[in-house]
Every structure is written in structure tokens, then in C-alpha cells.
């Protein structure tokens, strides 16, 4: 049985006890999936699954009251968001049913767009998209083009260590049990650049920021919502003045508030309409947290997050003799 059918069956089985199940459905064209909210068995036909199921559906969990019974379909990476939400007691374990499946990865739609545009195709209004083996074939405006998947996978999928959901109540399909290495080479490469270049990079990137907060709204762990510290005068951390340092301040707040919590789902970066690589800031923090505290967020719902804890003797913090 194909995985999608298995998934439908699993959801059908649990649906009676749930208020809603969040999954992916067809989007406005063949290149996009969009979240669907399944409340009846009839809705199950809307369900799709595949390399276009890019959204992290865990983001929606905190949009419901904690008392609602919710099912959610998660990729491996998304499941870590669920774990993190559980750890922070932002959702109730007994009110959430997690549907896991072996995720082969999702595409980076920006890469897809660019690659097909390079082939002289229009990436908008795609009428057909198929993923066969290691190739992706798109049809748009009557023209068809094919590209190797290797060029299209999202970066996070290339370094994925959690193809199979780390937490699930229903797991469909065979676990992939695969693990890539992630030595944070991207962070190291960026930090190898000269200091001025790094600063100028952000200067340039942030000058394009339009302060839409899509990054924040897409983040499954940005649970402050209307109380975000960036949009208040009490306290007044970020002013309304439009300057690069104000825009960047928000990104530093976001990174700082996610330190020890971010599961690198990449929704912030994906949601950014102007394509600022803001996940880099969070990955930098995660790299240091891993080094200092041997800790990864979103793995253990019982773990104590390192920045809300301490050791009297810190093994790895060398205070540099100051």
C-alpha cells in the first residue's frame, strides 16, 4: 500500500476522537502544497504527501486552545517542533495525535523556480509536477522540463538526521533509519569570511527586510504572538524607526529567543518574501549549544533546556582568564 493510503487509513482510524487533523493538500498550482484541515472522512481525499509538503504543520498546533484534540502529520523535522512544544508545555500530550511517516525530504521551491527558469521555463502556473526516482519533471505552459532531484532538495534535507519522526502516535511506512552528517559547515564557511564582509553581508541583507514578520509568524516556536517584544513599547526593544540596525535587532531577538529551542525547520527563511538567510543566525546558536552543552532541541520532551539551567562547574565554558 502506498504511504499516502496508509496515512489516510491511520487518520481515518483516529479521526473520531479528534477535532481536526492537519495535513497537506493540493495548492493553487501543481508545484505547491498547502495545509489542509481535516475534520471528516470526506476531507481525506484532499490529503497529499511528497517533496512539496514543505510547510511545518506543527506551527498550527498552538493556534488552537490547548483543550482541543488535534492530529498533525509531521515530517521528521516537524516532529522536533512538536517535541519542543511539548517540552515547553505549550501543547498537551494527551490532546495531540502525531502522524509520522518516513520523509525522503522536501524541495526548496526557490531552487526549483530558479532551476526551471534557467531552462527557459516559467515556474509560475505549473500544471503538472511529478517526482519519479531521482528526477523532477514539471509541465508549465505546455512545456515540460526535467531536473535531477539532487539539485532541488532543501538544504536542511541534505543534512537531515531525522527523516523519521522522533515522536509519533501513528507511524506509517518503513522507517528510513538514515542519518546525514551535519557539522555546521555552512556556519563555519560564513565565519571564515573576513569580519567586515560578514557585517556588510547582514547590512545588505537586512536592508531588504520589509519588517513583515512572516519569519516570526511561520515559526512554530514563536508563541508570543501578539505579545512579541518587537512590537511593543513596554519594553521598547525595537523602535519604529526604519533603520537596518532596528530590523537586524529583531532578527537577533528572534535568534536569541530561539537559542536552545530552534529545531531548524527553516520555516522562517522559507517564509521570508525577500529571501534573507536568517536561519544561519539560529544555526549558529545551535552549533554553539551543541558544542557547549551537547544538546539538540526537540529531541527529548523531558530535557531541561540548557539556557534555563546551569551547572556549578561548567565543563566546556572556558572563561578565558578575564
Amino acid at each position: 500500500m502506498p504511504i499516502l493510503d496508509e496515512l489516510k487509513a491511520a487518520i481515518a482510524k483516529r479521526l473520531p476522537e479528534l477535532d481536526v487533523v492537519i495535513g497537506w493538500g493540493k495548492g493553487f498550482d501543481a508545484l505547491h502544497h498547502t495545509p489542509v484541515f481535516i475534520t471528516s472522512e470526506a476531507d481525506l481525499d484532499k490529503l497529499v504527501l511528497g517533496p512539496l509538503s514543505v510547510q511545518n504543520l506543527a506551527t498550527y498546533l498552538t493556534r488552537y486552545p490547548k483543550t482541543k484534540k488535534i492530529g498533525v502529520v509531521v515530517k521528521g523535522c516537524d516532529s522536533r517542533s512538536v517535541v519542543q512544544l511539548l517540552q515547553e508545555k505549550l501543547i498537551n500530550r494527551e490532546n495531540v495525535v502525531v502522524f509520522g511517516f518516513p520523509c525522503e525530504g522536501v524541495v526548496d521551491l526557490e531552487k526549483v523556480k530558479r532551476a526551471f527558469e534557467d531552462q527557459g521555463m516559467e515556474a509560475a502556473r505549473v500544471s503538472e509536477a511529478s517526482f519519479q526516482g531521482d528526477r523532477c519533471t514539471l509541465t508549465s505552459g505546455g512545456k515540460a522540463g526535467s531536473l535531477p532531484m539532487a539539485d532541488l532538495w532543501a538544504d536542511k534535507c541534505n543534512r537531515c538526521q531525522y527523516h523519521d519522526a522522533v515522536i509519533s502516535d501513528e507511524f506509517v511506512g518503513q522507517r528510513l533509519e538514515r542519518k546525514a552528517e551535519d557539522a555546521y559547515a555552512d556556519v563555519a564557511a560564513f565565519e571564515a569570511k573576513p569580519l567586515a564582509e560578514r557585517q556588510a553581508f547582514w547590512q545588505e541583507q537586512m536592508s531588504r527586510c520589509i519588517r513583515c514578520y512572516a519569519c516570526r509568524n511561520a515559526c512554530p516556536l514563536c508563541v508570543c504572538r501578539d505579545q512579541c517584544i518587537a512590537q511593543t513599547r513596554e519594553p521598547n526593544w525595537v523602535s519604529q524607526r526604519t533603520g537596518v540596525e532596528e530590523k537586524f535587532m529583531f532578527q537577533m531577538i528572534h535568534a536569541s529567543h530561539l537559542a536552545g529551542r530552534c529545531t531548524e525547520c527553516g520555516e522562517c527563511e522559507r517564509a521570508c518574501p525577500v529571501g534573507i538567510p536568517i536561519l544561519l543566525l539560529k544555526r549558529k546558536n545551535n552549533k554553539e549549544i551543541l558544542e557547549l552543552f551537547d544538546y539538540r532541541a526537540g529531541i527529548d520532551p523531558e530535557a531541561k533546556p540548557p539556557l534555563l539551567a546551569f551547572k556549578v562547574e561548567e565543563e566546556k565554558i572556558n572563561e578565558r582568564g578575564w
Binding site: L90, V223, Q227, I229, T232, N236, W237, L308
Partner: protein, 659 residues
């Protein structure tokens, strides 16, 4: 808001290196500043009156005083502002003395810096809000840590003042170092004869609970309401039954137990009462040397005890005491002098410490008051005293003067002559430090009447030769190397904080220095207070001192506690955290980090929100730094207040670079 700014000259302390008038002049142009002036001594009566008048006349809403550290006069000026009818928290201080005028001579740079600090204070004050203290009840009991003469004095004075006292002593008897001394300088009266009665008073005072052989495990709470866990270490003798008859001591077959009280000169029995005047006069077993504990066989003491007080199964016991104040009087220890390998590093039996020598002099000591060499029990004819061993010596990390060694060495030289009339004493000294009533006269007597030979210079090395010890030193006044052949060498070893003092300070949350001495609140004006409200120090715990000073500090600390407890309620510091319920999302991360458990969950209209328990909150602000929404704010140190200070500085920099 109308803010008044007052720049203090502090005589020439500030005005000498800061252009005070200019700072005042510049301050006038700051937003919200309605008045600025300079004043000779802001803290003096006319200075304070000037502030009050300005507030009243100009209708000011708040005041900034730029003068010394807020740790010194912050409370003074808060009272001044209150006298002028303002809320005391509508006040800020700029520290332009300790942080400006005293650390640099460049007047121009200092003036600019002083102005910056004033701008920061103004910016912060503009965001201050009136705060109101709440009252809370206090527990009028006091914990005294350490049963030496300072602790005894503090305990007795507190108890006589009607307070309930809990006295905790680490060893099995109170008395401390003073109980080990033979005589005291400069009166040469018997140490135990003057301390003994006080010890008995402690035992008999109805207001004093004494825990000997006990230590503090944990201290929680805050001024007025501390919870203390006292660990009673097992003595293996039920002290409720023990009468101190001493039958067990006579029969104990293990006579090789290290004799702590006698500074390890000689040995004692495994079950022991340290000295005849011990309080409590109860026996206790040293499990480390008791045959019963080592082999399981023996039990002689249990057999001979007429009241069946011996209990080999005794376990440590934790007692919780609630008190409103703590007096730390844990005293000192001698530094580890064995780092002086040139004096044998402990390898030569007849090179001993001055405290060991006290035990040799004492009639209750291991030699019954006869001076005998530890190596062969012979009476020494030539005794060499070496001063400043571990004092004034940077090379062993002890740069300070221990203060009392000059005096007790003189005393010991006198006593040596008393004990052995045909003996000769040599004292190697660097300087004789004898400032005190009848002190210098006393050291002169040692030389003039008792013939002690004082040699000015350090001793380079001591080595045994022919059954005696060659002491090779210098007489700097004669300008020559000298050698003395000694039978006994007594080292005046310097003092350091008592073993475990640092650990205890951490529990008390007070500062200590690298020698283990506790930091007082102010070296002159608050000598027995600490920076933690309700915690006081007395005696050598703060630094080396002689007996009269230790006693005076014991009384001083007691007076402080009695003054604190003279009210029935204390005012809580209103600088506590406060939750903006609208902004709180109930994630409770604040509660996870609060060291005092002062944040609890509450339900507001079906939603979880954080709530601060104001009497428990100590105002550290950890929660504020933790909260992602900034919903919990430490009053008086809110994000906005700190940001205002930062922005002020960054703006001034901006103006400079642009202007």
C-alpha cells in the same frame, strides 16, 4: 517630568579632577531637567537641605545626585528625597567619585565621563516610578555561627537583650582559639579563667540553644525570615544522657587519637572531652581512631558508661531552625605553614607553631604546663621565635599582616622566661606592630625585663644539627648574617579565614576575599554588616584581630541585631518583579529560573499567568532577563530603564561622531 540634578564637589575629592560646575551647567540642557546645581557636600546637612529646598521650590518630580557610590549614600539621599515629599524611588545617583574622580586625573575626560553618567541617571530617572515598600513580619531569633569568643559575646549579648539565640559550633566544644591560649596579652591573665565563665553563661542561658559538633548545611530565605538547616554530626554519645564524668576517657584503650584541641601536640583517647572547662562538657568519639569503629571489637566505653550514653549507631541529624538574622563568627585558622620547606616544612619535630606552643605552656595542655620539646621531651634552653611566617609574604600569597603575632610572641617570650628562668629567647622580627593600650610597653617589657633578644630580620633557613637546630637569619641592624643554635623553634604563623569559610560564605551569599575573610559592608562605617541584609560578621571571620577587638565586634553585631529586631515588622524592598498580565503568555520560564521560588502560576480568566510573591522576590531580575515577551519586569531596573541608559550613551557617541 521635572528633574533636579545636584553635582557634589565632595570637597576636592570630586571637584579636584572633575569640572563640577561645568557638569551642572551642561546638565541643565538635558531634556526633563528643570534644575541643576553643584554643591560642596551633598550629603552634609546644608547639602541635603539644598536638595529639599530645590525640590519644593521648583516643584521637582525627581532628583539625580552625582556624588559617591550609591552603595554608600544611596539610602541617605533616598531619605532626603522622601523628606522633600517625593517617593524615595524617584531618585537616581551618578557615581562620579569612585568611578570617575578617584580613578583618573585627566580633568577633561573625567568631566565628560561625569556628564555621561549624569545623563544616564537622568534618562533612567525619567522612567522611574514611585514604589512602595510592603511590611512583613520577622522572626526575632538569631543564629550565631561559631562559638569562639566573638560568637560567645554576640550570643550572650543577644540573649541578654531578650532574643532567642541558636549558637552553632563546628567542634565539640565552644571556646574557639581563645580556649587554647594559656595567657592573654598584655595583662598576662589566664585565658581560660576569663573565658570560662562566659562559656558557662552560654550553657546556662535560657535563651541560648547550643548545637556543638554541628554545621550549617543550608540557609534559605531573607532578612527577618531565614530557614537554616543545621547538621548535627554524630558524636556517638547521647549528650542528653552524658554527664561528663570522664569514666570512658580513663578506660578507652585507643590512646593514639589525634588531639585536635591540643593542636596535635601529643595524642589523646578516641573518646574524649577536649579540656576540663569544655562546654558542653560531654564526651564524643573520634570514629577515625576508635577501635570499635575500625575493627568492630572493643566497646569498652559503652561498658563503663554509668548512664549508657554510648551509641555507636548514631547518624547525622538535620535540625531546621527559623531565624531572622545571622551572625557569622567562624574565626580563623593558621595558614598551612608547611609551604616553608626552608623551616623544615613540618619535618622537624621541634619546629612548632605558636598555637602549639600555647598548648605546651598551658597547665591543661599535654605537658601539664611544662615546656618540653616534642622530639625528646627535654626542656629547651634556647627558644627561637620566628615572626611573620605566612604574614607579609607575597611569595606564599599572604601579603597582609596578621596583626596579633607580634604581641603573642612577646607574651610567649615572657612566659618562656617564667617557665624556664635559665632559658634564652630570640625573636626574629621585621617590625614590631604593637599599637594598642599597653601593647608597646608590653613588648618593651619582654626585652627589658625578660631579656628576650630581638633580632631584626627574617630567618632564611632552619636545619637540624647535633640534636639542635641551626637557625640561620640576619640581623639587618647589625648588617650581618647570624646563626642561633636552638632547642625549640616557634613559628608565629599568620592567620587566614577558617577552613570552610568560603563555602559558608557562599551559603550566606556574602563576599569573601582570597584568604577566606568575609567582606564587611563598609570598612569604616559598617564594620560588622555585610552586603546581605540580616547577615553580620564578628571577630576574625572578617580579618585577623586580637581578643578585645573580637569581643567588641561580637557586641557590635549583637547591637545591630537588637536594633534590627526592635521593630515588629520590616519593610520589604519594593524593587521586586512585577508581571504585566496582558503580555504574559504563561510559559513560566521565569519560574523555572527563579532562585527563590518566588514565582507561581495563577489562572486569570482561564489562562495561565505568572505571579510574583513579593515577599519572596529578592529583586535579582533573572526572570526579566528570561522572559521572551518582557512581560515580567524588575521594578526600578526595567528593560526600558536600562535601555534608556544604553541609548543615552549610544546617542552621545552618535552626536560626537556626527558633530
Amino acid at each position: 517630568m521635572k528633574i533636579g540634578v545636584f553635582i557634589c564637589h565632595c570637597g576636592s575629592n570630586i571637584a579636584g579632577t572633575v569640572d563640577v560646575a561645568k557638569v551642572a551647567e551642561m546638565a541643565k540642557s538635558l531634556p526633563e531637567v528643570a534644575f541643576a546645581s553643584d554643591t560642596m557636600y551633598a550629603c552634609s546637612e546644608p547639602g541635603q537641605e539644598g536638595i529639599i529646598n530645590a525640590i519644593k521650590e521648583k516643584g521637582l518630580d525627581g532628583a539625580v545626585v552625582a556624588s559617591c557610590t550609591p552603595r554608600m549614600h544611596g539610602p541617605t539621599f533616598m531619605r532626603t528625597v522622601a523628606r522633600a515629599g517625593l517617593n524615595p524611588y524617584m531618585f537616581e545617583m551618578a557615581n562620579i567619585r569612585e568611578h570617575v574622580s578617584w580613578i583618573g586625573k585627566d580633568k577633561e575626560a573625567n568631566t565628560a565621563k561625569a556628564l555621561d553618567l549624569v545623563r544616564m541617571a537622568v534618562a533612567k530617572l525619567a522612567r522611574n516610578k514611585p514604589l512602595f515598600a510592603k511590611s512583613f513580619a520577622i522572626n526575632k531569633r538569631v543564629l550565631v555561627l561559631g562559638g569562639g569568643v566573638a560568637g560567645i559575646q554576640a550570643a550572650l549579648d543577644c540573649a541578654d537583650g531578650g532574643l532567642e539565640v541558636v549558637l552553632v559550633e563546628k567542634t565539640t566544644t565552644i571556646g574557639g582559639k581563645m580556649a587554647k591560649l594559656d595567657k592573654t596579652f598584655p595583662t598576662v591573665d589566664c585565658s581560660c579563667c576569663i573565658l570560662g565563665p562566659k562559656m558557662v553563661d552560654v550553657a546556662q542561658h535560657p535563651n541560648i540553644t547550643l548545637y556543638a559538633s554541628a554545621e550549617v548545611d543550608e540557609i534559605n530565605g531573607y532578612v527577618g525570615n531565614f530557614q537554616v538547616k543545621v547538621r548535627k554530626k554524630p558524636t556517638y554519645v547521647d549528650w542528653k544522657l552524658c554527664t561528663g564524668c570522664g569514666a570512658c576517657l580513663e578506660k578507652c584503650p585507643s590512646k593514639k587519637s589525634p588531639d585536635l584541641f591540643n593542636e596535635f601536640v601529643g595524642t589523646t583517647t578516641a573518646i574524649n572531652i577536649p579540656f576540663p572547662q569544655a562546654i558542653p562538657k560531654k564526651a564524643s568519639i573520634d570514629a577515625g581512631s576508635c577501635i570499635k569503629f575500625k575493627t568492630g571489637k572493643c566497646g569498652v566505653c559503652a561498658k563503663v558508661c554509668p548512664v549508657k550514653a554510648i551509641n555507636y549507631e548514631m547518624e547525622p541529624e538535620i535540625v531546621t531552625e527559623e531565624v531572622g538574622a545571622v551572625i557569622a563568627a567562624t574565626g580563623y585558622d593558621l595558614m598551612d605553614w608547611t609551604v616553608y620547606e626552608q623551616y623544615g616544612g613540618g619535618r622537624y619535630k621541634d619546629v612548632i607553631t605558636s598555637l602549639q606552643y600555647e598548648r605546651l605552656l598551658s597547665a591543661s595542655g599535654p605537658t601539664g604546663g611544662h615546656i618540653k620539646r616534642p622530639s625528646d621531651g627535654k626542656e629547651p634552653k634556647t627558644v627561637v621565635f620566628i615572626q611573620c611566617v605566612g604574614s607579609r609574604d607575597k611569595s606564599v600569597g599572604r601579603p597582609y599582616c596578621s596583626g596579633f603575632c607580634c604581641m603573642y610572641t612577646a607574651k610567649q617570650a615572657i612566659l618562656t622566661k617564667d617557665h624556664i628562668p635559665d632559658s634564652e629567647s630570640y625573636v626574629f622580627y621585621m617590625d614590631i606592630r604593637a599599637p594598642g593600650k599597653m601593647y608597646d610597653e608590653f613588648t618593651r617589657r619582654a626585652m627589658e625585663e625578660y631579656g628576650a633578644k630581638y633580632v631584626r630580620g627574617r630567618v632564611s633557613m632552619v636545619y637540624p644539627s647535633g640534636g639542635r637546630y641551626v637557625v640561620r637569619g640576619v640581623d639587618t641592624l647589625a648588617g650581618t648574617q647570624v646563626e642561633v643554635e636552638a632547642d625549640l623553634v616557634v613559628l608565629a604563623v599568620g592567620a587566614e579565614g577558617a577552613a570552610g569559610a568560603a563555602h559558608l560564605a557562599e551559603k550566606l551569599r556574602i563576599s569573601y576575599d582570597s584568604y577566606g575573610f568575609y567582606m564587611e559592608s563598609h570598612p569604616k562605617l559598617k564594620p560588622v554588616e555585610t552586603n546581605t541584609a540580616g547577615v553580620y560578621v564578628a571577630g576574625c571571620v572578617q580579618g585577623p584581630k586580637d581578643i578585645p577587638t573580637s569581643v567588641a565586634q561580637g557586641s557590635a553585631a549583637a547591637a545591630k541585631v537588637l536594633a534590627l529586631f526592635s521593630k515588629d515588622q520590616l519593610q520589604s524592598d519594593p524593587q521586586v518583579s512585577s508581571v504585566d498580565l496582558k503580555r504574559c503568555v504563561g510559559c513560566m520560564k521565569c519560574a523555572m529560573t527563579c532562585p527563590f521560588g518566588a514565582i507561581k502560576e495563577q489562572e486569570v480568566r482561564g489562562e495561565i499567568k505568572a505571579q510574583v510573591i513579593e515577599t519572596m522576590c529578592q529583586g535579582c531580575g533573572l526572570c526579566t532577563a528570561t522572559c521572551p515577551q518582557g512581560a515580567i519586569q524588575l521594578q526600578h531596573f526595567t528593560d526600558n530603564q536600562i535601555l534608556a541608559e544604553i541609548n543615552t550613551l549610544l546617542e552621545s557617541e552618535l552626536e560626537e561622531t556626527q558633530g
